[in-house]
Structure formats: structure tokens, C-alpha cells
Assembly symmetry: C2
Homo-oligomer: 362 residues x 2
């Protein structure tokens, strides 16, 4: 492939060009066992026993038992995201809510309980203090909602024209829940693919506001922290094998990450994928496919067939999961592909997003 | 005080206006016990016993002993910084080196061993791939030097004109070393103030490059990870009471943070503060005071008087501490102030930086 000369918007799309730069540059140069799975969060084991060689240790050796409690290391999830969304305020949320919810969700889908968040602000000189205050209050509220604490931060101000209003980076730390085994390797044909509701609301809400498109009824972003919903499922006995939040690149790109290099594929039933009338109408009008539109309050899970009804029930009883549906299943063939059975009886391959679709959507 | 209307460059200076926005907005709204000390890193205790209520726990109760090992929770340090430095490349470093060293240093001065780093990139459309590669290689090298691993990341691309080249956020996790007690509350009159070398190199190097100022001999930034130097001191028996890295706002602002609200003050001896001829010359020419100029490879410590010789020896034997000096001491009066005994025999109060001095210096 030709060497990349300049960074383009597509390199931040979450699709194929993003993956190229990640694998050819970041993964190659930064290579280490924690980074290499390229998951939403890195899973790290903290053990003063192992890590502080030479220093007095304070945690008993791995696996040692005492009074019925298995004593071992602490496993954490660690993640980061920068938020550059435009406009800063949209129906259903704003950059502050998004910056907390997005990072909480990245920690949650890795099977961890989100605990601590950092907040790095880059602000353009001249930015209205009132807007900053609204954003901070929104971060505060979302942090309260999801039970995380913003424990450290940094503020940089750049001169007028050197940034676009405000950019927010959050990093997060979560504690990996005991007994959770979320691994693509455990997925097998017959397992079901489940999503907690309609797709495309976030992207359509943002692009509508940005382009000044007026609709009869405004479409609200689904932006919200999902840790409560995800925990309720993970704390059940159901066999959840894997999950991700389909953000940049949409459901299509996320499911392509599921199947990449695996000896199984996914068949989706178009009829079962929940899309609201509003999202459908705007997508048709603007020429977008809802499968590729970003969500910020959705999680897609792979569940053993035996537990599908159980999981559906748990999720549908949760305020963020009322519209939960089984949208497809794992198949032994074709391998490594996502296929959509269309409403009219056909079938087509669903690829990863290949170029820029909607820049600055998160 | 009048309500702030717009964010100005001074709000990112690390001086008084920065503190105002931090205390009036961030600390007020995000308030929690971890954030409230406003230290370089938050110190967090991870304990599945305490935090995962309802879930099976895997760490014995705090303080329980087994086979001579005291079994307790794991304490981590967590920090974040965004880097918006201009120009991206300067004598002695670049934004990539700075992004790793800065975060490593923030973890180190809290008495932790830096382990894991996240990397969030915001790139302007059209940015040269070759420059990105140079920056990534520099991050890689600095990470190797300091023994940290870059374990998670995110890349956003914004359209041309919406950012200035590249901004980098790093967050970091360190493991707090056993037995370390770095607390301002332990400082008392008679303790000594020590710095590991000359001040002002970073700021002068960056501003020279930015303004295209030519000198006979180029001034190199001191930008470097200090964890090895700091660990060597913390692993000794010396009684180190507190330390910080004097970055934005310079040595003057950092020492003002030391004394804020305390029942003691600091007297500095101008004659003992190491300033290179080059930094002195450029500072005089541009009207800067080296005390307020950013450093990126300096640490200032408060050490018990009894241990000062011991610490001096350890540090002077380390490549990053050859020019270590005692520059002042803790005095019972005046309280809460930093006073400079000038070279000509006078004395003046050294305030925190009050306005913008050098924007985009880190």
C-alpha cells in the first residue's frame, strides 16, 4: 500500500483508514502485550508483588487463600478518548455529557466497574465562561449518574484560531468485575447478537444540529452512561461472551471488529435491527446508512443461545434497555464476515466504514 | 471578584488565574476527596473488597497479615496532561518526548512508580505523516527510557484550521511506593529546599525557537523523565517530605503552591539558584525572570536538615542531578510566603505568576 503522506479526516473515522494508522504506526511502535489487543480499554494487572521489584511488597502471592477469600492481584481497565464533537451542544446531550458517558461505556464493555475519570481540557482563547460552566455542570451530572469521580485534571488555553472552542480528553479507570469472561475466543456458532435499542440517534442528532436541518420532531442523541445496564447483565448468571459500544463507524464497523480474523461470521436480520422512523427518514434524505451512524448509548452483546431469553428479560426491564432485540446470530460460514439479510429477502456483505462519514461526531 | 466572562490565555498559565478557575469551577463542581488536594496526580486506593460491593471480592481485608506479609489495598497515582506546545520540535525535545516525560514526572513526584500511559491524539487534517511518525518514535523512545508502557489510545482528526497541528493528551497510572510519605504537613522550619539543577532551560528553548531568536549557543530544553532520579532518592533512607516538578509558572509558582496556607514560609538564596549563562542572557534580553520560566526536567524537594548531605550526594551521583543544589530553607516566618534573598543583599517577595507569561510552553 502507498505510504500515507498527510493525515486526513478518514484517519479519525473509526473505519479502515483508522485501523491502518493504528496498526502501521501506533501498534508497531508502541507494541506491548497490553496495547496489542486494541480493545476499548486496556486490561492491566496491578500487583505490588510483581511490579515493585526490590520494594517491600504488600499483596500476598497470586492465588493464595485466606479465610475462604482468594487473595490475588487487582485487575483494572484503563481507557482514553478525546472529544472534539461539533456542535458542542446537541439534542440529548453536549460535549461534557459525552466525555463522561463515552469513557464510562468504554470501561463498562470491558467488564469493569468504572470508578475514576481524568479530565483534560484544551480551550480556545475567548471561549465563553458560561458555556464552559454548562459543560462542566453536565460532566458533573453525568459523573454522578454513573457513579464515577473526576479525580484529576488539566487545563490548557491556546490562542484564538488554534482550536475550535473546546476539546475534552477523559481517561478512565475501572475495576474488572470478578468472574467476567468477555473474550471473542469464547464466541461460537449459534450464539446470539443483542442490542439494547434503536441505532443512529447520536449521529443523526449531531449532524442535524450542525447542518441546521429542521425536522418535524427533533431526534435526540442516545448519549448516556451504560454502566448500570451492563452491570445488571454481568451480575446475572447469563453467559455473556463479548460486548462493545458501537460508536464511531456505527454498528457495522463494530461488528466487523467482532468477526475480524475469527473462524465464524455474523448474520444480521435487517427486519430485527431497530431503527426509529425519524432516523430512517433523515438517513434516507442525507444518503446515510444507519448501520454506519454513531451511537453513544448502545451496547451490542454476544450471548449464548441458552441464555438469550434471560438476557432479553434483564435488559428490557432496565430503563436503557426497553427496546432490546436479538438482531442476529453467529454462523460458522461465511467466516470473518458480517452479512445482512435484507428486508426484501436478499443478502449483502456489511463492510467496515471505509472513508470519512461524519467527522467530529464524538 | 468580577465574574469571568471569557477564557483568556492566562487561565492556562499555571498561575493565579488558573487557580481561580480551578477552585471556582472545577473543584467546586467536581468536588470529591481525591480531587480536592489538587496535586499533580490523584492518589487512589483500589480494593475490590471495598469498591465492588455485592460482587465476590478477591483481596483480603485491609491490614490482614499472612506469612509476614501485610496484605492491604493497592494505592495508585493517576494523572493527566494535555500538551499543546508550539513549536512541536525544539532543541532538546519535541511534543512527543514532552507528553511522556511530563506525565511520568507528575506520577513520580507523588512518590509513585510510573507504569502505564494512555495517549489521546487530536490531529489537524493535512498534518504531515512524517512529522506524526517522528513524534510517535519520540514517545516510544521516552517510554522505553522511563520504563512505562503506552497501553491505550485514541486518535481524532479535525478539519483544517480547527486545531494547530497536533495536540497530545497523556494520562498515567503509577503504583505508589511503599513507605513513602510525601506530605506538605510534614514540612517544618529548618528543612532544606533542593533542586536538581539549573532552571529555565525548557521555556527559553521553546520561546527561542518559536520567535526565531538566534543565539551563539542554542539553549537546550531540560525535558526528560525524572523517575529514575526520584526513585533513587525515595528508595534511600533519607527523609524526603515533599516534592514537585516546577513546570508551567516556573519555580516561583511551584514554591508558592508549597507554602499556600501553611504556618511556615520559604527563604530562597538567589546566589544558590542555578541559572545558566545562556538562560540568564536571554531572560534579560526578553525581560523574563528565570524563576517564572517552565522547566520539564527539574524536581524541587523539601528534605529534613539532617538528611540534606545524604540527598545531595545521591542526586549529584545521578546523571540528571549533577548540578543539584540546596537553594533555600523552610522558615517559621513569614508564613505562607516565598522570599528571595537577592544577590545584592536585599529581600523580595516572590509571588505566583499572575498573568500569561509564555503561552503554549507545554
Amino acid at each position: 500500500m502507498k505510504r500515507i503522506e498527510k493525515i486526513s479526516l478518514s484517519h479519525g473515522s473509526g473505519g479502515e483508514p483508522s485501523w491502518r494508522i493504528i496498526s502501521e504506526l501506533f501498534l508497531k511502535e508502541f507494541y506491548n502485550p497490553f496495547l496489542s489487543p486494541l480493545t476499548d480499554s486496556a486490561i492491566l494487572t496491578l500487583s505490588s508483588h510483581n511490579l515493585l521489584n526490590g520494594l517491600k511488597t504488600c499483596v500476598p502471592p497470586l492465588g493464595k487463600k485466606e479465610a475462604g477469600i482468594s487473595c490475588r492481584d487487582i485487575k483494572i481497565a484503563f481507557t482514553t478518548d478525546s472529544y472534539v464533537i461539533k456542535p458542542l451542544f446537541f439534542s440529548g446531550g453536549d460535549i461534557g455529557k459525552l466525555a463522561i458517558a463515552g469513557t464510562v461505556n468504554d470501561l463498562s464493555v470491558m467488564g469493569s466497574k468504572p470508578l475514576f475519570i481524568s479530565c483534560g481540557l484544551i480551550i480556545e482563547e475567548g471561549f465563553e465562561y458560561d458555556l464552559l460552566e454548562r459543560i462542566i455542570l453536565s460532566m458533573k451530572e453525568t459523573a454522578l449518574d454513573s457513579g464515577v469521580q473526576i479525580v484529576t485534571g488539566d487545563t490548557k488555553v491556546v490562542e484564538k484560531g488554534a482550536a475550535d472552542g473546546i476539546f475534552i480528553n477523559t481517561a478512565g479507570i475501572g475495576l474488572v468485575m470478578d468472574g467476567v469472561k468477555l473474550m471473542r475466543e469464547r464466541i461460537e456458532p449459534g450464539d446470539k447478537v443483542i442490542i439494547n435499542g434503536t441505532i443512529g440517534e447520536h449521529g443523526i442528532s449531531v449532524i442535524s444540529r450542525r447542518e441546521g436541518i429542521d425536522f418535524e420532531s427533533e431526534i435526540e442523541s442516545d448519549c448516556s452512561p451504560l454502566n448500570s445496564l451492563i452491570t445488571s447483565v454481568l451480575e446475572s448468571t447469563a453467559d455473556i461472551k463479548f460486548m462493545r459500544d458501537p460508536t464511531r463507524g456505527g454498528l457495522a464497523s463494530t461488528l466487523n471488529e467482532f468477526v475480524k480474523g475469527m473462524k465464524w461470521g455474523i448474520v444480521l436480520n435487517e427486519n430485527d435491527i431497530p431503527v426509529s422512523k425519524g432516523v430512517r427518514a433523515v438517513s434516507d434524505m442525507l444518503g446515510f446508512d444507519p448501520l454506519y451512524i454513531a451511537n453513544e448509548g448502545k451496547v451490542v452483546m454476544v450471548v449464548s443461545s441458552a441464555d438469550k431469553e434471560n438476557v432479553l428479560k434483564i435488559m428490557q426491564n432496565h430503563p436503557q434497555g426497553r427496546d432490546t432485540r436479538i438482531i442476529g446470530e453467529i454462523v460458522s460460514s461465511p467466516q470473518g464476515m458480517v452479512v445482512l439479510k435484507t428486508a426484501v429477502g436478499g443478502a449483502r456483505i456489511v463492510d467496515m466504514v471505509s472513508g470519512e462519514q461524519l467527522p467530529r461526531i464524538c
